[in-house]
């Protein structure tokens, strides 16, 4: 357990910003995301005995943080699979915002976790409890769609 606690602390110190940025589209704002990350890591510390060692520690903590963010939203019955994640500062890149809005919500969430949280496919799969192949296929489709929409803005090489 002590080793797990130490690993959680290391994960927090090294990856806090990625966690907060990645969960912000789910929480609705950076402030709410900060709160979800703080509470999520606190819950992870209290639940270290439940970490089975199967899958990565980071994927396990991500699951906790995402659920915490969902619980904090006013729509209590919301589930991760019907979530409509938003870009919390759309004014910073309206083209990107528009392109993201054209993606289905589920695909958008995976894009946020990939590019805001910098998560590898395996960790995204663990966080969302889906197959890694599904993540890869979803991201491939999302990248095609984003590249097409952002073409005029110079994304396509």
């Amino acid at each position: 357990v002590d080793e797990t606690v130490a690993a959680i602390e290391r994960l927090y110190r090294e990856r806090y910003t990625r966690f907060r940025n990645g969960v912000a589209p789910v929480a609705g704002s950076y402030e709410a995301a900060h709160d979800a990350v703080q509470e999520g890591f606190a819950r992870a510390l209290r639940a270290t005995g439940q970490y089975s060692g199967r899958g990565s520690l980071e994927g396990w903590v991500w699951r906790i943080v995402l659920r915490t963010a969902l619980e904090q939203r006013p729509d209590e019955e919301l589930r991760i699979d019907v979530l409509d994640p938003i870009f919390v500062e759309p004014e910073r890149d309206l083209e990107l915002t528009t392109a993201l809005r054209e993606l289905p919500p589920r695909r958008r969430l995976i894009v946020f976790l990939r590019y805001f949280a910098d998560l590898p496919y395996q960790t995204i799969a663990e966080a969302l409890e889906i197959d890694e192949g599904t993540v890869a296929a979803t991201l491939a489709q999302a990248k095609q769609a984003l590249a097409a929409t952002l073409d005029e803005e110079g994304v396509r090489p």
């Binding site: 910003t17 912000a24 900060h34 709160d35 759309p90 990248k143 984003l146």
Partner: protein, 447 residues
């Protein structure tokens, strides 16, 4: 190629990612110690919700107690210091309101309120909608700190605003000192304040006082809120004996411990000629205009049919005391004789609301012979001001990004450019669109 696309998309996300590191491991540890035992996920979720309800019960009790105090002190304003972080968190819909204010703000005017830290401060019973204040209802004060200092506040169904991080340096702001006061007056002719509300920075201010035109005074109760707000809040329905011109509220002043005035907000009465009255234009149209505007002598100087089928128009009429008044699709104003010396060569811009038609309105100084509109795609058009006014429609072919208006250039009689007014083609909510994008927090706008 796929990897390159991946890197380019990643770069796009990196550019907008929030780089601020507000991590706090000590807070995580404290939360982990204070939290409930953690048997399994579902039970943890239930425990979490139960904990959130307990303060709400206390909040209801507090609100009832406050309401009682409110009644006792006439419109109710409990004095004292409220600890901000001990106050109940604002409900989600109020946090969302503060967040939406951030999102909706025009470019460069984002108040940067921190919705997640919004707190419920107090409630009070008052009426801002009726001249006799005879339909009071309960209003709740919520306050959210701003990033970098200051705060935003909301009186539900009444008023709200933000305290700037730094006090503006205008003469009026210097005179107001620590006070930030707004007021309501009746729209039915009474031009003295019926109700004031606002805030006062804490520090030197010890009391706030109402001063009346008849020389009498009254103390205005203030509820002080601790850091990070560091301010007091006040509401003051003007008592009925002071709802006449002779006895009206003349000013609100902030006093220090020695009773010295350190800030003053006056309420100048509107001159009768500047009051709005119903007037009739020569074509029979009835409009509410300043009494000073001579509507019977108005001339319609611009009239055209927009692509949406509506009329674009500008009326100009003499102004009693000199100058002109004008009326166009989106507003009314008067130009005093000194206008020509004071205002820029071109003054005006796009009047967009996200739906067609998109109008463009300008006032031009007399030395402007032509105004050239320049677009992103290199197109341009030249317009001749009529009596110093330009009103035209920006056509749908210029709605799309890459084709939008970027500048209005004033040309003199020799065709020499003498002034350039630039416009921001990326402003959200100006140009009409088919599908508004979701800016978050329930706010949608055309990109």
């Amino acid at each position: 190629m796929t990897e390159t696309i991946d890197q380019l998309i990643q770069a796009r996300f990196d550019a907008v990612a929030n780089p601020i590191n507000d991590s706090d491991w000590a807070d995580v540890l404290a939360r982990s110690r204070n939290g409930p035992s953690f048997a399994s996920w579902p039970s943890t979720a239930r425990a979490s919700r139960l904990r959130q309800r307990l303060p709400r019960v206390a909040l209801v009790a507090a609100a009832v107690a406050l309401a009682a105090v409110v009644t006792a002190v006439a419109f109710g304003w409990p004095q004292g210091l409220i600890d901000f972080f001990s106050s109940p968190p604002a409900p989600a819909k109020v946090k969302n309101w503060f967040a939406a204010e951030n999102v909706e703000a025009p470019r460069g005017m984002n108040p940067r309120a921190i919705p997640g830290q919004a707190r419920k401060i107090t409630t009070a019973t008052f009426d801002v909608n009726h001249i006799n204040a005879d339909h009071p209802s309960v209003h709740t004060l919520y306050v959210a700190p701003r990033r970098g200092g200051g705060f935003c506040y909301l009186w539900t169904n009444a008023d709200g605003g933000c305290l700037p991080t730094k006090a503006p340096s205008t003469m009026e702001a210097r005179r107001a000192g620590p006070l930030g006061i707004s007021w309501f007056s009746s729209s039915s002719g009474a031009n003295y304040p019926l109700f004031v509300d606002g805030w006062v920075r804490s520090g030197a201010t010890k009391t706030v006082e109402a001063r009346f035109a008849d020389g009498t005074t009254a103390m205005i109760p203030v509820t002080w809120v601790s850091a990070p707000v560091n301010a007091g809040f006040l509401i003051y329905p003007v008592p009925s004996p002071h709802r006449t011109r002779a006895t009206a509220l003349a000013s609100v002043v902030a006093l220090d411990a020695n009773g010295e005035v350190i800030g003053k907000q006056g309420f100048p009465l509107t001159k009768p000629l500047d009051q709005d009255v119903m007037q009739t234009l020569p074509d029979g149209t009835k409009v509410s205009l300043q009494r000073r505007a001579q509507a019977a002598r108005a001339r319609k100087i611009i009239s055209f049919r927009t692509t949406a089928g509506s009329e674009g128009y500008v009326w100009v009429m003499p102004r009693t005391g000199g100058g002109d008044c004008y009326l166009f699709n989106r507003g009314f104003g008067c130009l005093e004789p000194r206008f020509a010396a004071q205002t820029p060569t071109l003054n005006g811009g796009l009047l967009g609301s996200g739906s067609p038609p998109l109008l463009f309105f300008l006032q031009a100084k007399p030395n402007v012979a032509t105004v050239e509109l320049r677009y992103q795609n290199g197109e341009s058009e030249r317009l001749t001001p009529i009596d110093g006014f330009v009103l035209t429609e920006i056509l749908p072919s210029h709605y799309k990004r890459g084709t939008r208006l970027v500048a209005a250039v004033a040309l003199d009689r020799n065709g020499k450019a003498i002034y350039t007014q630039r416009y921001q083609p990326k402003d959200v909510g100006t140009y009409p669109c088919q599908t508004p994008i979701n800016l978050g927090h329930g706010v949608k706008a055309c990109p």
